[in-house]
């Protein structure tokens, strides 16, 4: 059993999805999905433990040997990601049943859970597999289910948002496929470990350059890196709230993972950063992304839009850390992936609770919520403080590492810019705080109640995680550092 963990990780939600269709009773389906996701979470914990103790796990699918068969390869990096994805998915699912009551027609409940599980499968698969083509397959599974999930949003704009995402996502996926195809053409293999062995021999050919560019652009589309982010704000804003919470916390992380995996493991550090000027390009784009997205967030009227733009800005931080191509920089990026998942999970779940009680998340409907929904608003405030990077929250930890990484390399001006950028977060978070706490409610007669317990439990689980992992950083720092070191081939 324990040796089959890598495949069980992916297959559990995959098998649960069709069973949901058979069950077809909303309450039952919810419980079952929760169970499946919880099981996946458990497996990811076991996997991480195993990886931390005994190093990389290689699993041959169906017993076929590695370069020919599909290999699942779990090292610290993907074990960390698997933990983030399945953990967030489980916490978010707790609130799902209550939330979709108000947002999705009753006859679609089952499909919702089926798609949710498929999307989860896709993401877990992308991360777990060690086979480049398999990445594409899972990418399509997660993307297709994502398009359908977003289209389920209650407003008509959801369809358009989903369509936008469909077009951009498909272009991205196609680019990745072309890139993988070209790699296959040059090396005759699809196994990542194998590719990394064989690519250096042909590194100076135009085909490899082209394949690299296709893969990077495709991945950057999926991770909504500035200026390829245009699909994200609407997709987040109009999707059902639960979907937003799940995607905001996990989807872009998976794309960042792919970026790291392809540049560091497949193409190799020297090719990605020496042959190609990725550093300058990514640092510039990351910084511009931070400023433009944060500034745009300030002017949004819909709170989901505010935090969607904030997500794009936060991706900028990950990209800057990545572009440094040092162990500390990569540690900062990995830490921020984990930490950002916690903050955005908490914030978007809290927004789901606001939608449940108030009906929408336009900023002026937040008036008076500080009194009416104190626990929910407190969660948004703590999540916001974490985004700003106040000490004792997770945001501070990742910021500390990013700053250390920048100053270590002598990038002082960039460090100042990063800090100034995080002040923009103060502005957009405080706009919400001021409306919620200082303005009287729009209509005094409408009594808005605090969110139901089924929301408060997952929201506050994540909020407490935000504080806990801001104080006890042993787990996150150790894993992130270990993963970064192994990507650089440094023995810890």
């Amino acid at each position: 059993m324990i040796t089959h963990l890598p495949i069980l990780q992916v297959i559990t939600p995959l098998m649960a999805a069709p069973i949901c269709l058979l069950l077809n009773r909303s309450q039952l389906v919810w419980m079952f999905s929760l169970l499946a996701s919880g099981l996946a979470f458990l497996i990811s914990i076991l996997l991480l433990q195993q990886v931390m103790i005994s190093g990389v796990i290689s699993y041959e699918l169906g017993g076929w040997q590695a370069p020919w068969g599909i290999e699942y390869r779990i090292d610290k990096l993907n074990a960390f990601l698997l933990l983030i994805i399945s953990g967030i998915s489980t916490v978010v699912l707790v609130a799902a049943q209550t939330s979709i009551e108000k947002e999705i027609p009753k006859d679609k409940y089952t499909y919702f859970y089926v798609l949710y599980l498929l999307s989860l499968t896709g993401m877990l698969g992308i991360v777990a597999t060690g086979d480049a083509f398999n990445v594409f397959v899972f990418l399509e599974i997660s993307s297709l289910s994502a398009y359908a999930l977003i289209a389920m949003g209650q407003k008509r704009q959801a369809l358009w948002a989903s369509y936008q995402y469909l077009i951009m996502g498909t272009i991205g996926a196609t680019f990745i496929l072309i890139g993988i195809g070209l790699m296959y053409q040059m090396t005759g293999t699809l196994n990542m470990a194998d590719l990394s062995q064989r690519l250096p021999e042909v590194a100076q050919t135009r085909t490899v350059f082209v394949s690299f560019v296709f893969v990077i652009v495709g991945v950057c589309l999926k991770l909504a890196m500035f200026p390829l982010h245009l699909w994200l704000p609407n997709a987040y804003a109009y999707a059902p709230s639960i979907v937003t919470a799940f995607f905001a916390a996990t989807a872009t992380k998976v794309a960042v993972y792919l970026l790291i995996r392809f540049t560091f493991s497949v193409f190799g550090l020297s090719f990605s950063f020496t042959t190609i000027p990725l550093q300058t390009l990514f640092m510039a784009l990351g910084l511009i992304g931070i400023f433009i997205a944060s500034a745009t967030a300030i002017y949004q009227k819909n709170v989901k839009h505010i935090f969607a733009y904030s997500s794009i800005a936060q991706i900028g931080y990950m990209i800057v850390g990545f572009s440094l191509s040092t162990v500390t920089g990569l540690t900062a990026t990995l830490l921020h992936m984990f930490n950002h998942a916690l903050m955005k999970g908490a914030i978007f779940l809290a927004l789901a609770a606001v939608i449940y009680r108030v009906g929408n998340v336009e900023l002026n409907h937040f008036r008076g919520l500080g009194r009416q929904m104190p626990l929910t608003m407190a969660a948004i405030v703590i999540g916001g403080l974490s985004l700003i990077g106040v000490p004792l929250t997770v945001g501070f930890v990742s910021k500390w590492y990013l700053l250390t990484a920048l100053v270590e390399q002598g990038w002082w001006p960039i460090a100042v810019l990063i800090l100034l950028g995080s002040m923009l977060a103060v502005v957009y978070v405080w706009r919400i705080v001021e409306v919620a706490y200082f303005k009287a409610p729009l209509d005094e007669n409408i009594k808005v109640k605090e969110a139901p317990v089924s929301f408060l439990i997952p929201i506050w689980t994540l909020v407490i995680a935000n504080i806990y992992f801001g104080i006890d950083t042993r787990l996150s720092v150790q894993v992130a550092k270990g993963a970064a070191q192994s990507l650089f081939g440094v023995s810890p």
Binding site: V390, P391, V397, V407, W430, E434, T473, V477
Partner: protein, 507 residues
């Protein structure tokens, strides 16, 4: 008592935080709630005083909590400067709570539970800050202090409070995150440690340019020290209820700022290095300019609290100057000024609040003749003003004395002149207030030509002679702090011992 000193040190920080739970639990019973706060104050003072005795007997008291990031720990260590700050803050917390009970009730403020709760958190943060053993711990409590005081500043919940809060948070967070944090990270990378060590943590051969830059980052980054141009938050914070202005913006928050400056100068840079850095000179003049300009601005304020706020900005400059002078008299003067100014300024704020709740006056121009109605308050105001100016028989004399000595020792004659000028300006903007209050006719006679038509003061418009003092708890508080100002003049020895022990190590 079998509690070890180490445990007491930790209790000092934990107890105020725990008190918040009891305060929330007793929110339906105001009397119970206030007694919870009061008893917490008393316990805290007891703990701090016991620790002080421990420190005086030469014991080393430190505690270690946990390692937040590899190499960066949350740990505490008591040294004389932190002790001094903790003593002042915990004592004045008790007095302020006493004052606040009178003030908040007679002013019928809302959300009093939140008020007392945030107050307790802020004091807990101050204790953590005062006892922190490294810059990292200090930074964490510094930020906790900023955030916990935001709800206090915006207590009124009005549009004006919201705006004030915006400036408050905006400036304090921006400076602390953009400059202070960057300085801390860089120090960590340059020096390899963030522990406070007598004589500094930088190696002797540290690059002067880098150290200079770091010093500038630190001084600008510690926005709570309110060096111009980052002083705007302090006047903005005056929208807060008076007890908040008095404790937080005359004692806890601003003193946390200058305390941090002093701590960084003596324990991170070390006076020897500090004296060699080219940026020290620049920062000294900047602080001097801050002292002078803030005094000038204070003269033009008609709102009493605003005038006091600018006066605070100016007085904080004194402490920064003392720290940057990098001599022992400068440091002693600075450390003593933290205490002296705290007592003086808190009294002035108490008086301003007392005038507001009893006579509903906040403008200085309306305060003629009120000395006849509120004699005790205005006498207290007079004495506290003397302490701020720095003349006997008040405590402020001593700290100014040492600061002056510091400027003479280092031959910074420009600064000496600035300090003297500023004292004159203090006289000009503080003393007329009690003077007008007691001798309304005299003044009105002199200036009647100028004022004619607008506020022509005649016999009828003068206030009645009926005595109408502030609520009793508030009055007691005022008397206590005023006596404090006087006592510190007569009996400054313990304070001086603590201040002079900062550089020589433990007593």
């Amino acid at each position: 008592m079998n509690i070890s000193l180490e445990l007491m040190l930790q209790l000092c920080i934990i107890i105020p935080f725990l008190a918040t739970f009891s305060i929330v639990a007793s929110r339906r019973y105001p009397n119970l709630r206030e007694s919870v706060t009061l008893s917490t104050c008393i316990v805290l003072i007891f703990l701090v005083v016991t620790l002080y005795q421990g420190l005086s007997s030469g014991k080393s008291i430190s505690a270690y909590w946990w390692e937040l990031l590899p190499g960066l720990t949350i740990s505490f260590d008591i040294e004389p400067l932190g002790m001094l700050f903790a003593l002042v803050a915990s004592f004045l917390w008790l007095v302020t709570t006493c004052y606040a009970i009178g003030y908040m009730r007679s002013h019928q403020e809302k959300n009093q539970t939140r008020f007392y709760m945030c107050f307790a958190v802020a004091i807990g943060a101050v204790m953590g800050l005062a006892f922190s053993a490294n810059l990292f711990t200090l930074f964490i409590f510094y930020e906790v202090l900023t955030l916990s005081t935001y709800p206090l500043v915006t207590h009124a919940g009005t549009e004006k409070a919201k705006k004030g809060g915006r400036t408050y948070l905006g400036i304090l967070l921006t400076t602390s995150i953009v400059f202070f944090l960057l300085a801390i990270v860089s120090t960590w990378l340059v020096a390899g440690t963030l522990d406070f060590k007598p004589g500094g943590i930088f190696a002797d051969n540290v690059d002067k340019v880098i150290a200079s830059t770091l010093l500038v980052l630190f001084i600008f980054g510690i926005g709570k020290a309110a060096i111009m141009p980052f002083h705007r938050w302090l006047p903005a914070a005056m929208v807060a209820p008076t007890p908040v202005s008095s404790l937080l913006h005359a004692v806890a928050v601003v003193k946390a700022g200058v305390f941090t400056v002093l701590k960084v100068c003596t324990f991170i840079f070390g006076l020897d290095l500090l004296a060699q850095l080219p940026s020290t000179q620049f920062l000294l003049y900047l602080a001097g300019a801050s002292v002078l300009l803030a005094s000038l601005v204070a003269m033009r304020q008609d709102n009493l609290k605003a005038r006091l706020a600018y006066s605070t900005v100016s007085q904080l400059g004194y402490v920064t100057i003392g720290a940057l002078l990098a001599t022992s008299s400068g440091v002693i003067g600075s450390a003593m000024h933290i205490a002296m100014h705290a007592f003086g300024k808190i009294t002035l704020f108490f008086c301003a609040g007392a005038i507001l709740v009893t006579l509903h006056k906040s403008k200085i121009s309306e305060m003629r003749g009120i000395g006849l109605q509120m004699p005790i308050t205005m006498i207290a105001f007079f004495i506290a003003s003397l302490s701020i100016i720095g003349v006997p028989p008040t405590g402020g004399t001593w700290s100014k004395w040492y600061l002056m000595m510091g400027t003479i020792e280092t031959e910074q004659f420009v600064l000496m002149v600035i300090l003297m000028l500023s004292s004159l300006l203090n006289i000009a903007y503080l003393l007329p207030i009690p003077f007008h209050a007691f001798f309304p006719k005299l003044i009105s006679f002199k200036t009647s030509d100028k004022l004619s038509g607008t506020t022509n003061i005649t016999e009828e418009s003068l206030p009645s002679f009926e005595i109408k003092e502030a609520p009793l708890p508030s009055l007691i508080a005022i008397v206590i702090t005023t006596l404090g100002c006087l006592t510190l003049f007569i009996y400054p020895q313990p304070l001086f011992d603590l201040a002079s022990a900062i550089l020589t190590g433990r007593e």
